[in-house]
Structures are given as structure tokens and as C-alpha cells.
């Protein structure tokens, strides 16, 4: 039985992961709605997880999938905190615009 049987080149998976990561980065940089910024962060974390899965598939080991599990729990914790902050922002300012946070002083 072969250990690393594969027909999809590793480069293609990594190129896909970097395209998705770049889309998430563009989303973070261009959107000013805080929910879209959180969603773009999720896109970037997911792309990083995809890169780990590609690595796991390349070497035929389970380690990459374990890193993916850690990224998954990180994303869950991050989005819980982030959405709590969204709720607070909306209660205080009645808007989801990130630029209103400029007036926070320290």
C-alpha cells in the first residue's frame, strides 16, 4: 500500500489557499462593516487550515489535520469574542461601522 498516493500537485492546493487568504485580506482592508471584517478573518483562518490540510495530504500524516483542528477551535473562540464585541459596539453606537471606533481614546 502506497503511503503518499496523490494526483493533485501540492502547488495547486497551496495556490488555492493563498488565493483564499488574499481574498480574506482584501476583505479586511476594504470593508468597514465589522461583521464583514469578522467574516474575512474567518476566510483567512480557513485558508490557513486548507494549507495545513494540503501539507497533511502531501506527507500522508495526520499532523496537519491536528493543526487544522486547533485552527478550528481558535476560529470558534475568536468569533465568539468578536461577535460579543459587535453586540457591545451596536448597543453603544447604534451602527456597525468600524470608523466610529476612532473616537475611542485609550
Amino acid at each position: 500500500m502506497e503511503i503518499t498516493l496523490q494526483t493533485i500537485p501540492m502547488q495547486h492546493g497551496l495556490i488555492l489557499a493563498s488565493i483564499l487568504f488574499l481574498l480574506g485580506l482584501v476583505g479586511v482592508l476594504t470593508r468597514r462593516n465589522i461583521v464583514f471584517v469578522l467574516m474575512s478573518l474567518e476566510i483567512m483562518l480557513n485558508a490557513a487550515g486548507l494549507a495545513f490540510i494540503v501539507g497533511a495530504s502531501r506527507w500522508g500524516e495526520a499532523d496537519g489535520q491536528i493543526m487544522f483542528l486547533i485552527i478550528l477551535s481558535l476560529a470558534a473562540a475568536e468569533v465568539a469574542i468578536g461577535l460579543g464585541l459587535v453586540l457591545q459596539l451596536f448597543h453603544k453606537h447604534k451602527t456597525l461601522d468600524l470608523d466610529t471606533l476612532n473616537e475611542m481614546k485609550g
Partner: protein, 160 residues
């Protein structure tokens, strides 16, 4: 078999691109869920069925539903009532529906494949579990501490 990877890769890029350019949050979430489902198909085609299942259950299931809950909790006023009307129109569902149908077709195709036709060696849940609770047990503890911190932080922040 390569068709699974490349088809889902194209769908993932398209839906992510559409998701970050929508005006309406719920429409963007709809496309992003399709993007996550196609990422799950990509994981499966790369020989990671356990990660694919978790991607659907945790990402597309739990995290996206949390986004939707928060969007529903925020009372955005009269504008939301107009939005609700527009969501009921079927043309908003055509795009995600077609892309999700392509993913469904890919899944049905994958279910009929034999092991010999799979492009990749499958690393199944058993191998991941043995690694996870063997050499990586410290990582499990760290993840649990992280989730506990997230729980406490979210409870503290979301309090009135």
C-alpha cells in the same frame, strides 16, 4: 477524481469573492456557507474526511449560525423589514442554490468512487484520533483552555 478538487476550488474562489463584495450581510453569509461547503469537498478530495466533516459541522454549522444569530439579535429598525421582504424573493437564492447543487453533484459522484479510484490516500478519523490523544494531548488541553477563555470572554462582553 481531480474534478472534485478543481471544481470545488473554482466554486470556493467564486463564492468567497462574491461574499466579500455583498452589501447585505445575510446574502454574504449565504455565499460564505457555500464557500465553506466547497472547502469541505476540497478536504475530502485531499484525503481528509474527518476535517471535511468538522468543516461542515463546526464552520458551516456552528460558526455561521452564530453570525446569523447576532445579525438577527441586532434590531436594525425599519430597514430590516424591507430586507426581510427582499429575502423572500427567490432570485436571491438562485446563485447559492446553483453552486450548492454543483457541490451536491460532486458529493454524489464521490460517494460512488471506490477506494482504488480515490486520488489520495485517506487519513481517516482513527489515525487523527490516535495522533490527537497520543503525542498531541497537550494541544488538546491548550485548545480547551482557549475555548474556555473564549466562553468567559464572550459571556463578559455580551452582558448588558
Amino acid at each position: 477524481m481531480n474534478f472534485l478538487f478543481y471544481g470545488s476550488a473554482v466554486i470556493a474562489v467564486i463564492t468567497t469573492l462574491v461574499a466579500i463584495t455583498r452589501i447585505n450581510v445575510v446574502h454574504a453569509l449565504l455565499y460564505f456557507i457555500v464557500s465553506l461547503l466547497s472547502a469541505a469537498v476540497i478536504f475530502y478530495s485531499l484525503g481528509a474526511p474527518f476535517a471535511a466533516a468538522l468543516e461542515v459541522i463546526v464552520y458551516a454549522g456552528a460558526i455561521m449560525v452564530m453570525f446569523l444569530f447576532v445579525m438577527m439579535m441586532l434590531n436594525l429598525g425599519q430597514a430590516t423589514i424591507e430586507q426581510e421582504k427582499s429575502w423572500l424573493s427567490p432570485n436571491m437564492w438562485i446563485g447559492p442554490g446553483i453552486l450548492a447543487a454543483i457541490l451536491l453533484a460532486e458529493m454524489l459522484y464521490a460517494l460512488n468512487l471506490t477506494d482504488a479510484e480515490m486520488a489520495h490516500t485517506m487519513i481517516d478519523a482513527k489515525a487523527v484520533g490516535i495522533e490527537l490523544f497520543g503525542p498531541y494531548v497537550l494541544a488538546v488541553e491548550l485548545a480547551s483552555m482557549l475555548l474556555l477563555a473564549g466562553l468567559v470572554g464572550a459571556f463578559h462582553l455580551a452582558r448588558k
